[in-house]
């Protein structure tokens, strides 16, 4: 055995000795071996795949020891592809480790927390060198080949023209010009000030939430309570939540119309150690210096997290629960290799929408009464049910306590305020907070404040990843109307409309006060994403009538003026019900913001959900969640983003008889070797693809179900449950299926790439027979080097999805149907169905980098197309793209889609003409039955210029796939993908 060992093994040994010595003998290091609860003990193995290197390091009772033989049982291990990767990783900052893991050059085994902890120890030792490396990387940014000067386009982004509009909307009662064309950002100095903070203040990791929660759990126990009895998880969670809410610092931010914050920081990164939080452990020291989306981390925070917080959660997080309770299953190992799927339940199950109207109209008091009533009717032997109800009640008390603390704070500030205007605002705020969210809301000010405080609560319980806001225009309109009806003078009413715009503006800016915790790997997987708090506008009311109202246009105005990435604004457009005036305004806001709102065809989305036979009035109340996915507002746990599923991986495995090339792993079923003539007909190959898909989907759903159980135990959601219809009636937590409706939603990634690849195989190998399958495979495996002719043929002679070709469209529909049926046949842990969506967040880029060349001619490592958007060279004519996508069957896409269209207004076009063009595309697309569409109204030259001069483009908004991001915060691959997208002149 030992003769295989290389020089690297010796060097690794010496290096580990050096590390151990530092931690054994230098007190400033040694103190980090200890947590609040004592010494942190663990063993970590380090080896190469063929065991040329094999070392272990053991930390035990304050001593570090290097072992030349890896013990049979380690807590965690890192398996390097070969010696060279060890050398590379050793010389890299800690954030790079996860990137090596993602690209499968390092394979982690066991508890990832220990890997992170070891990485932290390394980083503590090599901090200065790491920071130097990161600073160097930052200096070496992209410089374009030629200088791009696009003054016209960039000024276009900044200068917002406005159409005026005479009100003819039946639902708009008070706005004379629904477009509110007279207002600009300059009219709202308060919002300008908040925008300034948004773009200038560096986010910082906040330890408030994890510290308070950890403290409570240390005192009261996690598995068992203080008397030694096992905790009911929901009650445990509820008590901890109430403690957190009671003890959080109540902050009323300077000049704000809303009280409360999600963190103690101006812009805070919320940390959830029971979810993915621990993954930042290794990067704590270097995060402020990383290239993309750096966060500040104070020394105090590092110490608290390292000593008090993280050690407590090493075994109490979702991933680890599955490892411990399900025997480290294959489905989990696959997830932790990142190439075939990513399960969002490792982070959150947040993608849902609370029943806000209920809260507005009943207050927490009313909900508590309902819970009490339910408890009275529940026989005492139904202990679980009573505990669930009790837990919901406790969380609402916690929320009330937080609101009370905020009201005291507002009072305190009002007393000390010398500026009379502000003093009045604070007194007003104090009065609002005395009343809500405990009591029913009476005014728009109360409703929006209640909304925000409840929202803060939601984020204190559940990870800030896709919790969504729902149909705010519908739910706030009654308050706006009531307020307006009290005013009779025209001038008073105008002033009030302006106030409503400012109030909603403040709400948007509050929503930007927190960011999800993203370890550096997340910059590559989900680059630039905020927490995707979706707002939904327009559409129809539950009774089927036109829902567009005053608040719809107020939200659109705010969206346009602020042009920020989050909240993620989605507009429902109901043909025949919603007016042209409305669709035109959606088009104009897209033009002026360059990227938002995304437009949903109401009919198509509802058709896609037909199979579930939801009551029509509930179906009509759907809202977009996270990115684009439909949730029946307030009564549905759809965890609509439970997984990012790489369909292309199934194709690669079908090409390789079940082996995944990047993972170097024969993991799928053996479906046939191309080189041995396995597939006599195209249908045989299609079948192989289906089998691999079925295998991966089965694994992904199994892992989702395991993680669901982990949530039930580690982080049930009594607070959320109290505001989701069904949970109180059933007396059941939302994680257990308490909601009226339950489902889990997948995002199937790479539709265009799979379709085009299958078309290429079908045509070249089986129909024209211009190339044999083995020869084709050979060209694919060599990334088409030496085969420019084949590449040219693929590009020009194979009809692609989005080219207007019937066969390609049929192929795409066949794949969506297969995906839908395959997910649809599975059941989730809450008894609900799996749905299939075709959008990708930014994973089309990440999965692309982890994928080899494809039969479509797409080269190794290149991004897939975003969502289900056709390949850029599918057609020179955008109408072919739009028509093909509109003809995809909505019934196969019951978790929605993301269809990106990049359009560039011509300098000669008037503002009105540019609006008209966008309108025409969107209208025709919906008329033909298309489901969802999102625009990027920006030219390639502008994007290139922004890469070269990021400082001038801080607010350049782009639509990725389903969500918005600031272009300059994206990783280079994603920036290049956006540039490569087909561009069509307006």
């Amino acid at each position: 055995m030992n003769d295989k060992r290389t020089l690297t093994n010796t060097i690794a040994h010496l290096f580990l000795q050096f590390l151990a010595a530092n931690y054994n003998f230098r007190p400033s290091f040694r103190k980090y071996l200890k947590s609040e609860e004592g010494w942190i003990n663990f063993t970590l193995g380090i080896r190469t795949e063929n065991r040329t290197v094999a070392q272990a390091i053991q930390f035990k009772d304050g001593k570090a020891r290097v072992l030349s033989k890896i013990p049979d049982r380690t807590d965690s291990a890192l398996i390097f592809k070969d010696d060279s990767i060890i050398k590379k990783v050793a010389g890299s900052p800690p954030n790079e480790l996860m990137n090596y893991i993602m690209t499968n050059q390092v394979i982690p085994e066991g508890n990832l927390a220990y890997t992170q902890l070891f990485s932290f120890y390394l980083s503590l030792l090599l901090k200065n060198q790491h920071i130097r490396l990161l600073k160097k990387a930052k200096a070496k940014q992209y410089t374009p080949d030629e200088t791009c000067t696009m003054p016209e386009t960039s000024s276009r982004i900044r200068q917002k023209k406005q159409l005026e509009c005479e009100n003819t909307e039946p639902g708009v009662r008070f706005l004379k010009d629904p477009y509110l064309s007279g207002m600009t950002l300059d009219d709202f100095p308060r919002l300008k000030q908040f925008l300034d903070i948004h773009f200038k203040v560096k986010p910082a990791i906040c330890h408030e939430r994890p510290q308070l929660l950890t403290r409570w759990h240390m005192e009261n126990g996690f598995e068992k309570d203080r008397s030694g009895e096992p905790w009911n998880p929901e009650l445990r969670q509820a008590h901890a939540f109430r403690y957190l809410m009671e003890n959080r610092k109540p902050i009323v931010r300077e000049n704000d119309l809303l009280a409360g914050t999600t963190t103690e920081k101006e812009i805070g990164v919320v940390l959830y150690p029971d979810a993915q939080g621990i993954l930042i452990w290794g990067e704590l020291l270097t995060t402020p210096y990383r290239l993309l989306n750096p966060y500040d981390v104070e020394k105090e925070t590092i110490d608290i997290l390292h000593h008090d917080v993280f050690p407590y959660w090493i075994d109490r997080n979702f991933r680890q629960w599955v490892r411990d309770h399900k025997g480290y299953p294959l489905c989990q190992k696959l997830d932790e290799r990142f190439a075939v799927y990513f399960l969002w339940k490792t982070v959150a199950l947040s993608h849902t929408i609370l029943d806000y109207p209920k809260l507005f109209h009943m207050g927490t008091k009313g909900i508590i009464n309902e819970i009490d009533e339910q408890m009275r009717q529940t026989p005492p032997e139904e202990m679980d049910k009573l505990a669930s109800l009790q837990a919901m009640r406790i969380t609402l008390e916690g929320l009330n306590a937080y609101a009370r603390n905020l009201s005291h704070e507002a009072f305190r500030l009002a007393n000390g305020e010398t500026d009379m205007t502000r003093k009045n605002e604070l007194v007003h705020l104090f009065e609002i907070l005395k009343n809500v969210p405990e009591n029913p809301c009476e005014t728009l000010d109360e409703a929006v404040n209640a909304l925000w405080i409840v929202w803060v609560g939601a984020h204190m319980e559940n990870t800030n990843a896709g919790l969504s806001l729902g149909r705010l225009d519908q739910w706030l309109q009654p308050f706006f109307e009531k307020d307006m009806e009290r005013l009779s003078l025209e001038e008073e009413r105008n002033t009030y409309i302006r106030h409503a715009v400012e109030l909603i503006g403040c709400f948007y800016m509050r929503c930007t006060d927190h960011l999800p915790l993203i370890p550096d790997i997340g910059n590559y997987l989900f680059g630039g994403s905020s927490s995707d708090q979706a707002i939904t506008l327009g559409g129809v009311k539950p009774d089927g009538s036109d829902a567009v109202n005053d608040m719809t246009y107020i939200f659109l105005k705010v969206t346009e003026m602020l042009t920020i990435r989050d909240p993620n604004v989605n507009a429902r457009y109901s043909r025949g019900k919603n007016s042209d005036t409305y669709l035109k305004r959606l088009s104009e806001v897209n033009l002026n913001t360059t990227a938002t709102p995304s437009i949903h065809n109401d009919e198509a989305v509802m058709t896609s959900l037909e199979e579930f036979n939801y009551p029509i009035e509930h179906l009509r109340d759907w809202s977009a969640t996270g990115c684009v996915e439909p949730t029946l507002s307030g009564r549905h746990i759809g965890h609509t983003n439970c997984m990012m599923f790489n369909m292309v991986a199934a194709l690669e495995m079908a090409l390789n008889n079940g082996e995944h090339p990047l993972m170097r792993w024969q993991v799928g079923p053996e479906t046939g070797e191309i080189n041995k003539g396995a597939f006599p007909a195209f249908e045989d190959f299609f079948e192989a693809f289906c089998k691999q898909f079925d295998f991966l989907a089965g694994q992904a759903c199994q892992y989702n179900n395991f993680l669901g159980e982990a949530h039930q135990y580690l982080r049930p959601t009594p607070y959320l449950s109290s505001m989701i219809d069904g949970c109180i009636q059933k007396g059941m937590d939302a994680t257990k299926g308490g909601a009226l409706y339950n489902s889990s939603g997948s995002a199937c990634i790479g539709l265009a790439d799979v379709t085009d690849s299958l078309m290429a195989v079908k045509q070249l190998v089986y129909e024209e027979k211009t190339i044999s399958f083995p020869e084709f495979l050979n060209a694919i495996n060599s990334n088409f080097v030496n085969r420019p002719d084949l590449l040219a043929r693929l590009k020009n002679r194979v009809p692609l999805f989005g080219s207007g070709n019937k066969d390609a469209l049929e192929m795409a529909n066949r794949i969506t149907k297969f995906a839908h049926d395959n997910f649809g046949k599975r059941k989730n842990y809450r008894g609900g169905a799996y749905t299939a969506g075709f959008w990708s967040m930014s994973n089309h880029v990440a999965f692309g980098t982890l994928t080899g060349a494809l039969p479509s001619g797409r080269l190794k490592g290149k991004a897939f197309t975003p969502g289900l958007t056709p390949e850029a060279h599918a057609s020179k004519n955008i109408l072919d793209n739009i028509r093909d996508v509109s003809m995809l069957e909505p019934r196969h896409m019951n978790n929605n889609i993301a269809f990106n269209v990049k359009v560039v207004p011509s300098a000669e076009d008037s503002h009105e003409q540019a609006v008209d063009h966008i309108y025409s595309y969107a209208k025709a697309y919906c008329d033909m039955g298309g489901m969802q569409m999102q625009f990027n109204v920006v030219s390639t030259d502008t994007l290139k210029d922004a890469m070269a001069h990021p400082e001038s483009y801080q607010n350049l908004l782009v639509r990725i796939s389903g969500y918005n991001a600031y272009f300059v915060t994206l990783n280079r691959d994603m920036q290049m993908e956006l540039i490569a997208r087909a561009e069509f002149g307006l």
Binding site: P788, D789, L790, L791, A792, R793, K795, N796, R797, G804, N877, I878, L879, D880, I882, R883, S906, E908, D909, S910, Q913, D916, H917, Y919, S920, Y921, K923, A924, D927, M928, F984, G985, L986
Partner: protein
């Protein structure tokens, strides 16, 4: 020319936003009675099919050389295609994987064209667009055009003709005019001798036709003047056009800016660029120049239309 019943179609370009109101499909006909030295679509002049070669797209696989029975293709030729030898069998085009070799001009029936453009009808409807006949010169094929237009009007498609103005006025009035919603009529050079020099024929018919049609249906007409450096964009020529139009009480025209991209097209089909090369012929019309031209027309009370009518 009238003897040719079925025209060759160069291309049907969808989603055009520059050739009339709304979103349009532009049908390019091959063949033109004029031979303007600056022709921006040089491949549209000849009425017969041609081979074009785009060096940038060629992947050098040699498949075309293997199938050419006339030995008309060779890497040693600067234009690659020996057009004297080429019999236009297009076998090379069929085997070319990269579309470096392409057939310019394909036969299409009225039904083919109708099918190709009607698929975009939802977009015409939402944008107030339709189809545009362009070229080449579509009126070369009056009989064909009449049948095509009749079909399109049956389904309510908005129709627009872009024309050089050189055609038989009687058949135009009887066969085409009833089906046209709009006519973009080019006026290039007022001086007859210059017109012959630069466009190959006299402008007498063109000017007569313009007058006749404008008198019949001024609302459906938009005169357009292409700005070709030192040929059409001279002060004297533009003044002459302006006063001619003013005399007819024309209130609105369109100016077409010059673009320097077309010489590349000449190379692809192996025709000689006849425009004397100078710096101006290599640059786009400047905003400043455009403003000056606009001024000339404004002084006669004629407005310049934006991109669209």
């Amino acid at each position: 020319m009238e003897r040719i019943k079925s025209p060759l179609i160069l291309d049907i370009k969808g989603n055009s936003l520059d050739d009339g109101p709304g979103i349009r499909s532009v049908i390019f006909f091959k063949g033109c009675p004029l031979s303007c030295v600056w022709c921006h679509n040089p491949e549209s002049q000849k009425i017969t099919a041609e081979v074009s070669f785009d060096k940038k797209s060629c992947v050098d696989c040699g498949a075309c050389i293997d199938v050419c029975s006339e030995n008309a293709l060779s890497k040693s030729l600067p234009e690659y295609v020996d057009r004297k030898r080429c019999t236009r069998c297009f076998k090379c085009v069929d085997v070319c994987p990269s579309t470096a070799l392409e057939r310019v001009g394909r036969e299409m029936t009225v039904e083919d064209i109708v099918n190709a453009v009607e698929k975009d009808k939802p977009f015409y409807e939402t944008s107030g667009g339709g189809i545009t006949l362009s070229g080449g010169e579509p009126t070369v094929f009056t009989a064909f055009l009449a049948r095509l237009l009749e079909q399109l009007k049956k389904s309510g498609t908005h129709t627009l003709l872009e024309t050089c103005g050189h055609f038989n006025i009687e058949s135009f009035k009887s066969d085409l005019l009833p089906y046209l919603d709009m006519i973009y009529f080019d006026l290039k050079i007022m001086d007859t001798a210059d017109h012959v020099k630069y466009c190959g024929i006299s402008n007498r018919t063109i000017l007569e036709n313009f007058k006749t049609i404008y008198t019949l249906c001024p609302d459906r007409m938009l005169p357009r003047v292409p700005l070709i450096p030192d040929i059409t964009d001279t002060v004297s020529n533009l003044k002459a056009i302006a006063s001619y139009l003013a005399a007819l009480d024309v209130k609105k025209i369109s100016l077409l800016s010059y673009n320097p991209l077309w010489p590349e097209k000449c190379e692809k089909i192996g025709v000689t660029n006849l425009l004397p090369g100078n710096e101006k012929s290599l640059t786009w019309t400047s905003g400043e120049k455009m403003a000056k031209c606009r001024e000339i027309f404004a002084s006669e009370g004629i407005l310049i239309n934006g991109k669209h009518a």
